[in-house]
């Protein structure tokens, strides 16, 4: 099978890999994307794709085998996704310079990517020449987060942690559970069902929560919970 394993690049003929050549492992579960990347990168004299892979598991094997200068890795893949690949490699003590390719990325994924040492996040909508520029910069030890909300992701995470800590200090665990369910949009009867208590008990807990947090309505509580990052 053509896509059964990490395979050596077919994009170039017998160009000896010198120190000036950037050796890549590229990973994407869509064969057409891989072909596109091969075609794009194959024209660059200083870039060589040493392996391409369609799964996270194959990506790990390829990185272990080839020790690429740069790993170009799809974020979203069935099974082991891009962040999963990096987690496994990190546990093995292998930390390749990585360009993460993403159609879209949320704040939590962005922050985890940063924490796993990803050097660049490139949206798939980015113009191809920018990807090549990015690979060269990452190979040179630089980072590339232009236009990516890294700070926003960090701020959201820190705010959420602080908010949770505030709520944990003010509320009991049961009250916190109820607030969390309200933040999810559940009604009292649904909360009662989940907690195996009467609706009256939920109302009683809510009354205490209102008093402790100084809110006057369910909507105020909902807004406060969301503001504190509770969901």
């Amino acid at each position: 099978m053509e896509l059964a394993g990490p395979k050596a690049s077919l994009g170039k003929k017998a160009a000896p890999l010198s120190a000036a050549v950037i050796r890549l492992v590229i990973v994407d579960d869509h064969a057409v994307v891989l072909k596109g990347l091969q075609a794009l990168l194959g024209t660059e004299p200083d870039i060589a794709v040493v392996a391409d892979c369609t799964t996270g598991e194959l990506a790990i094997k390829a990185v272990v085998e080839h020790h690429p200068d740069v790993l170009v890795l799809d974020l979203r893949m069935p099974g082991l996704d891009g962040l999963g690949v990096l987690r496994v490699l990190n546990e093995k003590g292998i930390r390749p310079r990585t360009v993460l390719l993403a159609a879209e990325i949320d704040d939590d994924q962005m922050l985890e990517a940063v924490r796993l040492g990803v050097a660049a996040v490139v949206l798939k909508e980015m113009a191809p020449p920018r990807l090549i520029e990015c690979i060269r910069k990452v190979n040179a030890g630089e980072r590339w987060f232009d236009g990516q909300p890294v700070g926003r992701a960090l701020e959201a995470m820190l705010r959420r942690e602080r908010g949770l800590r505030d709520l944990r200090q003010a509320l009991t665990n049961r009250e916190l559970d109820i607030v969390r369910m309200i933040a999810l949009g559940l009604r009292n009867a649904e909360i009662a069902g989940r907690l195996c208590v009467s609706e009256g008990t939920v109302k009683s807990h809510l009354h205490h929560v209102y008093e402790k947090l100084g809110v006057n309505s369910r909507m105020d509580l909902l807004l406060l919970a969301q503001q504190k990052g509770l969901k």
């Binding site: 040492g117 909300p149 890294v150 960090l154 701020e155 995470m157």
Partner: protein, 130 residues
């Protein structure tokens, strides 16, 4: 410029050694660690005057981001962030949050040692340490 007790949390051994050498030459007392978990123990036992904190430390048990989060609940110790993401963070983190976390400066790597010394000295006249 007063001598300070500085906790440096940085996983790059070369940068760590360089910072220690320069700061000790400036009469500061520097405790240098490569893991937020070790830093946390140090902070609990002997709170420093200022923390120099690298955020991204993939090898650490507790990275700089997690430590920063934990510190937000503890005593307010001035923090100078040292990060390859420094420019991005300086641009995007709100002043409200940096004040709440006692972040006094964000230095993007590579940074000059003069800039680092300047930010540490600035704590004196800013009245947040020493």
């Amino acid at each position: 410029m007063s001598s300070k007790r500085i906790l440096l949390v940085e996983d790059d051994p070369t940068l760590r050694a360089l910072c220690v050498e320069v700061l000790e030459n400036q009469t500061h007392v520097v405790v240098a660690v490569d893991d937020g978990a070790v830093a946390l123990e140090e902070i609990q036992q002997r709170p420093p005057d200022v923390i120099l904190l690298d955020l991204v430390m993939p090898r650490a048990r507790l990275d700089g981001i997690a430590l920063l989060s934990l510190l937000s609940a503890g005593p307010r110790i001035p923090i100078i962030i040292l990060s390859a993401l420094g420019d991005v963070l300086a641009r995007e983190l709100s002043s409200e949050l940096t004040k709440a976390l006692a972040i006094t400066a964000i230095l993007g790597k590579p940074f000059s040692l003069e800039a680092l010394s300047r930010e540490i000295d600035r704590l004196d006249w800013a009245g947040v340490s020493g």
